[in-house]
Symmetry: C2
Subunit: 545 residues, 2 copies
C-alpha cells in the first residue's frame, strides 16, 4: 500500500497544533472583555481583567512555593471567587487541582490528602477546623493557605496558615503561566465518594475539560454573556466544568456560599441569572420558598438537573415559575454531564404525566462524548432497544477520565474491553434514549428475577404522600431477596404500610411489591446521595412478620 | 526530576480517547432527532435520518469504487443537498473532499484535478460542460458522477457520466463508515485562488474541522435548531465549516443555488432563517431588493460578513431591516473565520459612524484559535498597540491548516518561526482588536513612506457617490510609487476626479491622496475579490498628466 499523500510533509508544528486547554478561555475573555463582570459574590464584583490577573497571581505564588507540573494542590472551598481562581490558577502553574467535598469527615479527607500527595492546601476559614483535624491524621504535611471569605462571618481559623490574600499578593499578575506540555496532562483530581472501599481519585485532563466545557455551552444553548448561578457545588466534579464554560462564552458567575432559597431568588431577580444547575432538591428549595422570597422573572431560566429524575409535580411548578428544566446524567469519571435528555419541541404539547415520563429518562450522548451504550457486560453486546432489557451503561470518548490515580487495577477494570464501565444499570428505549434502572449492586434478585429498585421507587414516588423513597434488597428465606422500602412522607400527609403496598400492587408485578415498608428519615451522603448501603444493613436486620 | 505521577498508568485507550471529527455530529443528529428537517431545497425537505442515510450511501458507493484513505474526491457543485452530502459522505469513506470553485476557468480546474490527483469527480449538470473541458486538459482521468439538481432547469450534460442518484443507490445506507485513524488525517483540500503563481492546495484535518465547526456555533451564539441560509458558497473554504456546525446544533440548512434577492427574502420569511453569511455584496443585494420582495421578519437575523469591512450605510439599513451584522475574518488556511469582531454591548449606543468604525475592525481571535498577533515579520516581535504600526497578521493554533498539499517549500515558508504567516498586513488597536491594512503586496511605498491602500479606499468609500473603490500603486518618477484609485460610482450619482481628490485631501495626509483617479468597471475574481494585479498592470501604463 502506498503512503497516504496527505500525510507527507504535513506534520504538526507550533503554528498549527497547540494542546487543547480551557485555561486559554480566561486569557481570551480578559483580553477581549476586560471590563465585563466575571464574578459576583455578595457585594463584590470582579471583572475579567481582575479575575485573570488574580488567577495568574495565584499561579505565580504557587510556583514561588516550588509547585509545578504534576504537583497536587488540595482545596476545600465553598462556591466562592477563590474556588474559581483555583480552577485556573492551580493548573496555570502546571499543578493539579484537587477539590475536596466540604461535607466529608476528617478521616476521609486525610486519606485523600495522602493519596493525592497534597503539596499545598487552600482552605476556607469555615472548614479550617475540619482541615486541621484531617491534617493531624494525614501523613503529608503541606503548607496551608487560609481563605477568609468576607461573606462568611462564623467561627473557624487555623494556626500557622498563610492568609490567601497575602499569598496571592506575593504572586506576579503578569506571570507567564504554563500551557500544558500535552493536552493529555492532568488538570484535576476528584475523589468519588463511593459507598464501599477507599475513594478513587478520578484524574481529568486538559483536553477533556476543554471539550466538556464547550459541550456544556453547546448543549445548553448558552449564549454570549449568560449569567450562571452557583447552586451546584464546585467541588463536585469541578462544577461539571462550568467554571471553564463561563469564560468561553464570557459569562458571569454568581457565587453562592450556601444553597438557600432567599439568596437564590434574589440572585435570579437582581443578577439576571439565565442558567443554574443542581439536584432536584435545589428545585424543591426554589419552588417551596416562602411567597415573600419569590420574584417575578422577566426571562425563562434554564435549570439543569442531575442525580435523580425530576418528579412530575416539581416539573410542573418549575415551569409555571419560569424555569425550563433539562435532565442531565454523568459521573465524575465523565467530567460531569455526558448524557442529556434532549427535548423534542413536540413533546411539550403532551400531558404533564407523559412529559415527566419522557423527562425522567437520562437521554442521549452529550456532543463531546463519542459513544454511549447499554451493553451486556458479559458479552459486550448492546441490549435490545425495548425499554426493558437491563444492561450496564458504558461510555467511550474524549470526556472520559484519564483513569484512577495510583490505582492501576481499578483503572484496568473500569476500561475493560475498551469501554468505561459506569456500574449503572439501564435500558434503552426504542428511540435510543437510555434510562437508568439501578446501580449494579442495587439490583434485587428475587426468586431468580431481577427487580429494579428504581422501578419500585418510581411507583412509590407517584403516591401523593411520598416525599422520599428508597428501595433495597432484604434477605428472604424462600426468594433469596425481596424488596424493602424506606419512605419519608410529605409533611401533613399520611399513608401506612398497607396503603402503600396496595398502591404498588396496582402498578407492579406482585414479586416487585415491597414486602416491608419502613417509615423513617433516610440517611444520605455528604453529596446528598441516599446511602443505600446503610439501608441495606438495616434491611438485613429486619424480620418479616 | 522524578516522573510526573499523573502520567503513570493513565494512558490513552479506546474508552477515553477517540479522534475528534465532525462526522460524528451527523450520526448524533440522526440518532437523536431523526425526523428534524436537516435540509430544505426548493420544495424538497430531508430529515436528519435521510441526510445521514444518504451520506452513508455515498460513502459506501465511493468505497465500492475502491476509494479510501488519502484518495481525493473532486466536486464541483452549487449550494445543493449533494454538496452537503459530500461534506460527510466523502470523508466517511476515508477520502478527502476537494471542492472546486464553480467560477474558475478550465485550465485552473485541470491544474487542480491533476495536482490533487482526483480519483473521482462529482459535478452539477450546470457545470458539466466546463468540467468536460477541464478533464480534456487534465492528465488524470477520474470517473465522473453527474448531479442533476431538480432546481436547475438550464442546459448542460456530460457523456459517460454516472447519474448521482443511481450512484448513491448503489451504496449501503447502513455502511459502517470510517472514523479517521488519527484526528490529524485530512478531511478536505481547498485551492486558494491566488493572484499569481499556481494555486496552493490547503489541507484541513478532522481535528480542526471539529473545533472550528463548534467555534462557529459558540462565537455566533447559535442555539439548538437554528436555521441557516446558504448565501455563502460551500466551495469557499467548506462554507467556513458551517456544513458541520449545523449538525452539531441540529439545525436546518436552507440551500440556495444562486444568490438572488427574491429567494433570499422568501427563505428569510418562510423558513424562519436565523443565520446567514456572506460578503458585503450579499448585504447589498438583500438591502437593495425591490420593495415587493422584502418581507417583515418576526426575529432578528444574524448576518456574518467577511472579505471587506461592512460600510456604514449598509450597516444602518441592515439594522433597520432586522439584521445584526457581525464582521469576521479568516483565510482558507484557517478553515474560514478565525477572527471575530466581538461586539461590546455598550458600543451599540454610539453614533452610527463610530459604530461603523469599530465594526470595520477585524477583531480578536476566534475561541478555537489559540493565538492571533500582528508581528514584524523580520523580528517576529509584536507591533505597538497604537492602531498605526503595520505588521503582518499571524496565526497559531488548532484551526490552522495542516499545510499545502505537495508543496513542502510553501508549507515551510507559511509556518516559518512557528507562526502561520497570512500575508495580510494590519495594525493592533489599544484594545487589542486587529484591523487589516493591506496585503503585503498591496502596500504603496511613496518616498519611503508606507501608504495603506485600504486607508485611501476607506476615505473614498465615505464619499456618497462612491460605490466601489480600489487603490493600487502606480510608478512615479520622483516618489517611486504613488496611489492610483479605480472607482465605480453609484448609479445616478456624480463626482469627478477633482472632487474626489479634494475629498481625500480633507481626510488624508497629502502624500496619500491618489495622484490619479480612474472611473471604470473594476475587474473581479470568481469569488468576487477585486483583482488588484489587473489594476496594478493598468496603473503601470498610465501616464500622469
Amino acid at each position: 500500500m502506498s503512503e497516504n499523500p496527505y500525510n507527507i510533509g504535513l506534520d504538526r508544528n507550533p503554528a498549527n497544533y497547540q494542546p487543547l486547554t480551557p485555561l486559554g478561555f480566561l486569557e481570551r475573555a480578559a483580553s477581549v472583555f476586560p471590563d465585563h463582570t466575571a464574578i459576583v459574590h455578595g457585594g463584590l464584583r470582579r471583572s475579567y481583567a481582575q479575575f485573570y490577573s488574580r488567577a495568574r497571581q495565584l499561579a505565580s505564588a504557587l510556583a514561588g512555593q516550588g509547585l509545578g507540573r504534576g504537583d497536587t494542590v488540595s482545596v476545600m472551598l465553598a462556591n466562592t471567587p477563590a474556588m474559581l481562581e483555583c480552577h485556573y490558577g492551580v493548573p496555570m502553574c502546571g499543578a493539579v487541582l484537587h477539590s475536596i467535598n466540604t461535607r466529608l469527615d476528617a478521616a476521609i479527607i486525610a486519606f485523600q490528602l495522602d493519596h493525592a500527595m497534597a503539596k499545598l492546601v487552600i482552605v476556607d476559614r469555615e472548614f479550617a477546623p475540619l482541615m486541621a483535624e484531617a491534617l493531624a491524621l494525614a501523613k503529608v504535611t503541606p503548607p496551608v493557605v487560609l481563605y477568609d471569605d468576607p461573606e462568611y462571618t462564623g467561627p473557624g481559623t487555623l494556626d500557622e496558615a498563610e492568609d490567601y490574600e497575602r499569598f496571592l499578593a506575593s504572586g506576579d499578575p503578569y506571570f507567564a503561566w504554563l500551557m500544558p506540555e500535552d493536552e493529555w496532562d492532568a488538570i484535576s483530581i476528584n475523589y468519588t465518594s463511593g459507598t464501599t472501599g477507599d475513594p478513587k481519585g478520578v484524574v481529568s485532563h486538559h483536553r477533556g475539560a476543554y471539550l466538556l466545557a464547550q459541550g456544556n455551552a453547546l448543549t445548553t444553548s448558552m449564549a454570549k454573556h449568560s449569567v450562571y448561578l452557583w447552586t451546584l457545588p464546585m467541588f463536585h466534579c469541578n462544577g461539571w466544568c462550568f467554571p471553564w464554560t463561563l469564560s468561553a462564552i464570557i459569562g458571569t458567575h454568581v457565587c453562592l456560599r450556601q444553597v438557600r432559597s432567599e439568596p437564590i431568588w434574589r440572585a435570579l431577580a437582581e443578577e439576571d441569572v439565565t442558567h443554574l444547575c443542581g439536584a432536584p432538591i435545589v428545585m424543591s428549595l426554589i419552588e417551596s420558598a416562602p411567597q415573600a422570597e419569590k420574584r417575578a422573572l422577566d426571562r425563562r431560566v434554564q435549570f439543569f438537573t442531575a442525580a435523580a429524575p425530576p418528579p412530575e409535580r416539581l416539573l410542573a411548578s418549575m415551569k409555571a415559575a419560569g424555569f425550563d428544566v433539562t435532565h442531565l446524567y454523568g459521573l465524575t469519571e465523565t467530567y460531569g454531564p455526558a448524557v442529556v435528555n434532549e427535548w423534542h419541541g413536540d413533546w411539550s404539547a403532551l400531558p404533564d404525566t407523559e412529559q415527566a415520563r419522557l423527562k425522567a429518562r437520562q437521554g442521549v450522548r452529550y456532543l463531546p462524548l463519542e459513544e454511549l451504550a447499554v451493553l451486556d457486560p458479559d458479552t459486550m453486546q448492546p441490549v435490545a432497544r425495548d425499554g426493558e432489557t437491563i444492561g450496564e451503561v458504558m461510555f467511550r470518548g474524549n470526556v472520559v477520565m484519564k483513569g484512577y490515580f495510583r490505582n492501576t487495577e481499578a483503572t484496568r477494570k473500569a476500561f475493560a474491553d475498551g469501554w468505561f464501565h459506569s456500574g449503572d444499570l439501564g435500558v434503552v428505549h426504542p428511540d435510543g434514549y437510555i434510562q437508568l434502572k439501578d446501580r449494579s449492586k442495587d439490583i434485587i434478585i428475587s426468586g431468580g428475577e431481577n427487580i429494579s429498585s428504581i422501578e419500585v421507587e418510581e411507583a412509590l414516588y407517584r403516591h401523593p404522600a411520598v416525599a422520599v423513597a428508597s428501595v433495597v434488597a432484604m434477605p428472604h428465606e424462600k426468594w433469596g431477596e425481596t424488596p424493602c422500602a424506606f419512605v419519608e412522607l410529605n409533611s401533613g400527609q399520611e399513608a401506612d404500610e398497607m396503603a402503600l403496598r396496595n398502591w404498588c400492587r396496582a402498578q407492579l408485578a406482585a414479586y416487585k411489591v415491597p414486602n416491608k415498608i419502613v417509615f423513617e428519615v433516610i440517611p444520605r451522603t455528604s453529596t446528598g446521595k441516599i446511602q443505600k448501603f446503610v439501608l441495606r444493613q438495616r434491611a438485613s436486620k429486619l424480620v418479616l412478620k
